[in-house]
């Protein structure tokens, strides 16, 4: 039999395919264990002990949330309860959420559960983008809680005649087509008062997730297009 090159041997390529696939799969599974541990949701005890988690516990809704440039990581990170000397969360400054800053772990958890469920059952993702995934027909909601439009200088509190950001958001969610903010309007999805509260808690919680600096420069540039 004539000598055959290994490069034209199907058995060789079949084994190569099996080994490469196996290797990639094993590596993926190993990384998945590590990532799963890092993205598991934190608890109220973590917050009390000043432990920063990539996905904090639901009681973050009791705290003031900001999005600050971190010198070490060279991108913005969510900061919970004010910034300490290292530029990370100080877990000190509280902020009332629907009139309270003492939501217990269970209460806050239930609110987040309702909100996450509502975000799915109301099909938010087929117009909006969440963590950058979804549709592009309406704004990205990843850091919606921190959006200047809902802040003291934004238009939404005035338009909805509400005193606070969370009340303005909840009001808008319940009656979106009454507050036309753009020609591309949000339809009425039959969101109840309780569901709206949950959704706002979900949005506030999502703003605290460490997204490695996405979106970049969020809310930091005012009037850039028409500015100098």
């Amino acid at each position: 039999m004539a000598k055959r090159s290994v490069w034209s041997d199907n058995r060789f390529w079949q084994r190569t395919a099996a080994w490469i696939t196996g290797f990639a799969s094993v590596l993926l599974i190993w990384l998945t264990f590590d990532t799963s541990a890092q993205i598991s949701m934190g608890t109220d005890a973590d917050i009390q002990n000043g432990v920063t988690k990539r996905v904090p516990g639901p009681t973050v809704i009791n705290y003031k949330i900001t999005y600050e440039m971190n010198k070490k990581r060279q991108h913005e990170i969510p900061v919970i309860g004010g910034m300490n000397a290292e530029g990370t969360s100080a877990f000190q400054e509280k902020e009332k959420f629907f009139g309270r800053d003492d939501w217990s772990e269970q209460e806050a958890g239930e609110l987040l559960h309702l909100g996450k469920l509502a975000s799915q059952t109301k099909n938010c993702m087929n117009c909006h983008t969440l963590l950058g995934n979804g549709a592009y027909y309406a704004p990205d909601l990843t850091k919606a809680w921190l959006d200047p439009a809902w802040g003291p200088e934004g238009s939404m509190m005035g338009m909805t005649s509400k005193e606070t950001k969370e009340e303005a958001m909840a009001e808008f969610l319940q009656n979106p087509s009454q507050y036309p903010t753009h020609a591309r309007m949000m339809p009425n999805l039959g969101i109840t008062a309780e569901e709206a509260k949950g959704l706002v808690a979900f949005l506030k919680h999502m703003a605290t997730i460490d997204t490695n600096g996405f979106p970049r420069n969020f809310g930091k540039i005012q009037g850039a297009v028409n500015g100098k």
Partner: protein, 474 residues
């Protein structure tokens, strides 16, 4: 069917799958048009059939028609590859009806109920609100049963009959395809965990198992349509599998840049997703190389006849080689590196990539398989183009490429204004949406969508009538 030349029950079942697939393809385009009109005229069907519902139907019809056509393709090629009739064909037929009925119910619920209260009943019976895999949980369980039945048929037939390389690849691939669906079937309050596993379904389907499936189908097509040598084709196939799984599995990392997952995914995602276009280049070369080689052998005999026994199908297979490389490869690579992706993901740019990639990589080859089925069903030796074939192909390809270019231009406006200049706020978002580039891009996308849809009408007409044309070699 009375005039069918098909002796094989498996191939008959395949034609059923292709019929439903083609119908859902039409539905996909129809709801895509509704969504495209809403970009240009936001008041269109407002609070009747909102964008969210139109888009959900658009993308779900896409996924489901492709799955139907994939199942059909496997049932079509199994008797040829294994040399025996598919085992468990009765179960296959029963599951076909279960699947079709379930899809019909799901679509009707999407259309007429749309949203429910924020509790588990909505998740079980309306939809799960998770892009691409919105199917309610009862349907999830049903789809799992259908997929398991399909995989069982494939394995029983593969074990009993002559197991070719193509069948071996499909057996491994389809079990991974079915298994991965399970990772998207649970509920969690933690959206980072939610998205982490969601990508296991979406990415590992589309950029791993579906691509390998395409490799196997392309190999089968080359053997059937131009008489390519099995050994050469299967060698290419194994090389492609190595490259596709080698890059695609860890390429998953490019979806883990910004969803709350650790920073090491930047490097892993960047490296492996940058490698992802390579197998697509290989698939491109593979198809053209084999075609040239077989035609060259024929020409050397001094006979000037084409080696292609099914002109429309082969056209779609060649379009697949181009489309997969362009849409998935080039358009994907454009925005895969984290430095760029930080600004481009979640913009119209993603949408441009999505349109060309799904079309180029999957729609093309599955339409090709439909033409192979038409040929077999009508007992034709050489299937030639009709005028409708040419119109259908040109208009669909032209339309999709046009949409892609329009969305790419719109995407630049989105990226530069909304993301880079305005820091991704709501005000920045709407500033970008109002620019001439984006507005005109959306108008062109709609026009090109209409062209695509008219092309689909030609395609439907052609698939139904081409078998009766008289200019084929019988």
């Amino acid at each position: 069917m009375a005039n069918s030349y098909l002796k094989s029950e498996s191939k008959k079942l395949a034609t059923w799958y292709f019929t439903v697939a083609a119908t859902l393809f039409g539905a996909q385009l129809l709801f895509g048009l509704v969504a495209a009109i809403q970009y240009v005229m936001p008041g269109f069907l407002f609070e009747i059939l909102d964008f969210s519902v139109a888009r959900m139907l658009h993308i779900n019809a896409l996924v489901v028609w492709m799955v139907f056509a994939m199942f059909g393709s496997v049932y079509w090629l199994l008797p040829d590859e294994t040399g025996i009739e598919t085992v468990g064909i009765g179960m296959g037929k029963l599951l076909f009806w279960v699947f079709t009925a379930a899809v019909t119910v799901v679509v009707l619920v999407y259309l007429f109920i749309q949203v429910g209260p924020a509790d588990e009943t909505s998740i079980w019976f309306i939809h799960e609100g998770r892009e691409y895999i919105e199917a309610p949980r009862w349907a999830d369980l049903g789809i799992t049963v259908v997929a398991l039945g399909f995989v069982a048929n494939l394995f029983m037939t593969g074990m009993k009959g002559n197991r070719s390389g193509i069948v071996t690849v499909l057996m491994a691939d389809m079990i991974a395809f079915a298994g991965l669906y399970l990772t998207g079937m649970f509920y969690t309050d933690n959206i980072s965990v939610d998205q982490f596993w969601w990508w296991w379904v979406i990415h590992l389907w589309v950029e791993a198992t579906w691509e390998v499936f395409v490799g196997a189908i392309a190999a089968y097509g080359l053997i059937t349509m131009i008489g390519a040598h099995r050994k050469v084709v299967e060698m290419w196939l194994w090389i492609e599998v190595s490259m596709l799984f080698g890059s695609g599995i860890l390429g998953l990392g490019h979806h883990y840049f910004w969803i709350g997952t650790p920073e090491y995914w930047w490097e892993i995602g960047a490296l492996f997703s940058a490698l992802e276009p390579l197998p697509l280049v290989a698939m491109f070369i593979h198809v053209l190389y084999d075609w040239g080689k077989m035609q060259g052998e024929e020409d050397a005999k001094g006979q000037e006849i084409s080696v292609i026994t099914n002109k429309p199908a082969f056209t779609w297979f060649v379009l697949n080689a181009f489309g997969n490389f362009l849409g998935a490869g080039i358009w994907g690579f454009f925005h895969t590196l984290p430095q760029v992706n930080l600004y481009t993901h979640g913009t119209q740019f993603t949408s441009a990539h999505g349109h060309l990639a799904f079309f180029g990589a999957y729609a093309t080859i599955l339409v090709g398989m439909m033409y192979l089925a038409v040929q077999g069903k009508n007992g034709i030796k050489v299937l030639n183009n009709t005028k409708s074939t040419v119109w259908a192909t040109s208009m669909i390809v032209g339309g999709v490429v046009g949409m892609t270019v329009a969305l790419t231009i719109a995407g630049y406006s989105d990226v530069i204004i909304s993301r880079a200049q305005m820091g991704a706020t709501w005000a920045g978002y709407f500033d970008a949406q109002g620019t001439t580039w984006l507005v005109q891009g959306m108008v062109w996308r709609l026009l090109m969508g209409v062209v695509t849809f008219v092309g689909f009408l030609f395609l439907a007409k052609d698939l139904l009538s081409i078998g009766k044309a008289t200019h084929h070699v019988r």
